[in-house]
């Protein structure tokens, strides 16, 4: 190319790029409802499919779904979008963000939009159909702030082929049984067949679950459910007990740590690649793990999250997220957003969502529907083609026992202030502090009680600062 030609091209490229940069956006006519969710896998595809069906049925709306990699980045992005003054109409917010969302003043309470009506935009409200564990967690004083969607609980997944190989007969239910089983896996580990006995993401969520199992509170004032809490309690016996368990499991070489906090991906990978025989992770992975085990060629059985057999089991807290509607100047947009969310979680969709993912069915009517799946149905999800298909007729739960564990675990939980879950404004940050403390104890060999005391001090400073800015 001659120099002159090069120069000419160069100028062209510059002009073209400037033109593209200032090109105006297209005009809009329908009511746009932007929904942010924290999934990038088949769960995103499922949600997009439902949104498309809604858009077809109600052409006055245009629902679009935008994906984020996880709950935390989604909330970060939403906070930034609020600062910028152009937030989306709906976001999926994880359970620990509840108090922060209420304090932020960014959202319109769902009960406020409903205002006693039974139908919004052609969709039945039917909140009394929501299963009790879910309504127990998310309603405060009987009012709904957000619409529940994905509800999960951590469960235990076992690779029965590896168990057979190691001579482990029963799936452990307690910490003590787990340690005994892990001891039996040690030869396989030494032979290099597996990397260790068990893994789970190092994530405060598991800590919170074990705290609830031992019926211990995370914050004062009845876990924040009897009044605004002023203190975080990380130094209780139950708390130290949990972190000591982590440390023991790690020190003995049973627990495989990927080295990354909140590593949902890496932990599932080590289980799917048969590097570990056991994993504890969200029930939402039931579908994914079962499928990839089928592909790789091993059997998976799910059971409940292990608990400390010396203390006993009170119950588990629900996890997952709900859908929050951004407060708008135009009530019509809020109503449209709510209409979509009610459609999104109607009986058929709630049933399909459970069958596709493993999240707990959040409506009683959805459970009934799944117990009696008709021959001609549209409840299944084809991951590869990203379309609905038909589930096998019959009782879904009997045909798929792995999908039952989560509902059982939650359903049999005793409802106490501990198992209802904590509510406070700095829950998100506190969860990160706990996660960090557990990592420090495992990797640096620190004393659990001492490290937790430091974490508690840090969490209390944050809570104090938060209360100073948000509460009078």
């Amino acid at each position: 190319m001659t120099k002159r030609k090069f120069n000419f091209l160069f100028v062209l490229v510059i002009i073209a790029s400037l033109l593209v940069a200032i090109a105006p956006g297209a005009a809009q006519e329908k009511t746009d409802i932007e929904v942010w969710i924290a999934f990038v896998d088949f769960r995103l595809d499922w949600a997009v499919d439902v949104a498309n069906k809604f858009n077809e049925a109600y052409p006055q709306y245009n629902v679009t779904i935008q994906e984020y990699t996880d709950y935390e980045p989604l909330l970060d992005a939403y906070t930034l979008a609020q600062e910028q003054g152009n937030p989306p109409e709906v976001i999926q917010l994880f359970e620990v963000g509840t108090q922060f969302a209420l304090d932020s003043g960014w959202f319109r309470a769902v009960s406020e939009i409903v205002a006693g009506r039974e139908e919004i935009g052609g969709q039945a409200v039917a909140f009394d159909d929501i299963v009790p564990v879910v309504s127990g967690y998310y309603t405060i004083g009987g009012d709904w702030s957000s619409v529940p969607w994905n509800t999960s609980t951590p469960i235990f997944y076992a690779n029965t082929n590896l168990m057979e190989q190691a001579g482990v007969e029963a799936i452990p239910t307690t910490w003590q049984e787990l340690e005994a089983a892990c001891e039996q896996f040690q030869p396989l580990k030494e032979a290099g067949t597996i990397a260790g006995c068990i893994t789970w993401p190092n994530h405060g969520w598991f800590y919170e679950q074990w705290l609830a199992q031992q019926n211990e509170l995370l914050v004062n004032n009845g876990n924040g459910r009897e009044g605004r809490p002023s203190e975080v309690n990380l130094t209780s016996d139950a708390s130290v007990n949990i972190v000591q368990f982590h440390k023991d499991m790690y020190d003995k070489g049973y627990y495989v740590y990927s080295g990354v906090q909140r590593d949902w991906t890496g932990t599932v990978q080590s289980f799917s690649s048969q590097q570990v025989p056991f994993i504890m992770t969200s029930s939402a992975s039931a579908g994914g793990i079962t499928n990839s085990a089928l592909e790789t060629g091993f059997d998976v059985v799910t059971s409940r999250m292990v608990y400390d057999g010396e203390v006993g089991w009170t119950g588990n807290i629900i996890g997952g997220a709900t859908m929050w509607i951004t407060a708008q100047d135009d009530p019509a947009v809020e109503e449209g957003a709510l209409a979509f969310l009610l459609y999104f979680n109607n009986t058929e969709n709630a049933a399909s969502w459970h069958a596709a993912s493993g999240y707990v069915p959040i409506r009683d009517s959805a459970i009934t529907l799944l117990e009696n799946v008709a021959a001609d149905n549209d409840l299944g999800w084809d991951i590869d083609n990203k379309t609905r298909n038909a589930l096998p007729a019959g009782n879904w739960f009997e045909l798929n026992p792995n999908f039952r564990t989560a509902s059982d675990q939650l359903g049999e939980s005793e409802l106490t202030l501990a198992t209802a879950g904590a509510v406070f404004g700095t829950f998100v940050e506190t969860r990160n502090i706990v996660t960090q403390a557990i990592e420090d104890v495992m990797l640096l060999g620190l004393d659990p009680a001492e490290r937790l005391a430091a974490a508690e001090a840090e969490a209390n400073v944050l809570l104090g600062e938060y209360n100073q800015l948000y509460v009078e």
Binding site: F10, I14, A16, V20, D41, F42, P73, Y78, L80, T296
Partner: protein
Amino acid sequence: MTLAARPGWRRMIPKRWYAHLILITAVFLMGLPLFYAVIVSTQGNADVFAYRFTFGDQLERNWNVVMNVRGLGGYMVNSFVVSMGIMAAKAVLSLLAGLAFVYFRFPGKWLVFGFVLLTLMMPTEVMAIALFRIVSGLGWGDSYTGLIVPFMASATGVFLFRQHFSNIPAELSEAAQMDGANPLQFLFRVLIPISWNAIAALCVIQFLYAWNQYIWPLMIVQDRSKQVVQVGLRTLVAGVETGDSFGPIMLGAVIASIPPLVVFILLQKQFMSGFALTRDK
């Protein structure tokens, strides 16, 4: 330079095989990570977990995941527009500033120059949070404007052109003035045509800089239709959990690397001279 011009070297390093050995090792070690990434980008997870070091047969599937499912093409377009926008704006603004600094006399020039000079010491990253508040306040969140405008000025560019213009013989501008040309005519008809090397040098540096930006787009853009590829790759990485595997991630990484690699390899000389010019004062 030729061998004959430097007979000294010949005698000084008798064992050249040694140099070849070190260089081949270095090339091999440096190339290995990318080469393996290219291999994995054609594989499915089964191949990856089995550590097969040959090309797999999943390229089409991975391509489908990367382009159609995760929409990497859109991110690439955004990255391209933003990088080109920043590059072009920096070139134009720096040319104008260089012109003002070299071909004009005005009071307080040293102060103005110092004002520009100081910004070399201010990394944008450090001020990112305050910058975010300002750009958001202007309503430029989620837009090309917010990605481009804060980076349109370049102290590097101003120095480069100031240096370059200072070395151009004064007769050129005197002749132009005698012909009655105004400063802008002088810039476009005389300076720019003889400055293509310096302009290209600045453009290469700034293109790489803009294409590889990460923190700022991560903060200022929430709407994925405006997001750049460096941040867009995050959704690929997170997709591993259930559906996706390593293949699409690596394919995405490889695709996102092609534009800067091509620019850098083809325009190495310009890239270097850009840095070198701004360096020696």
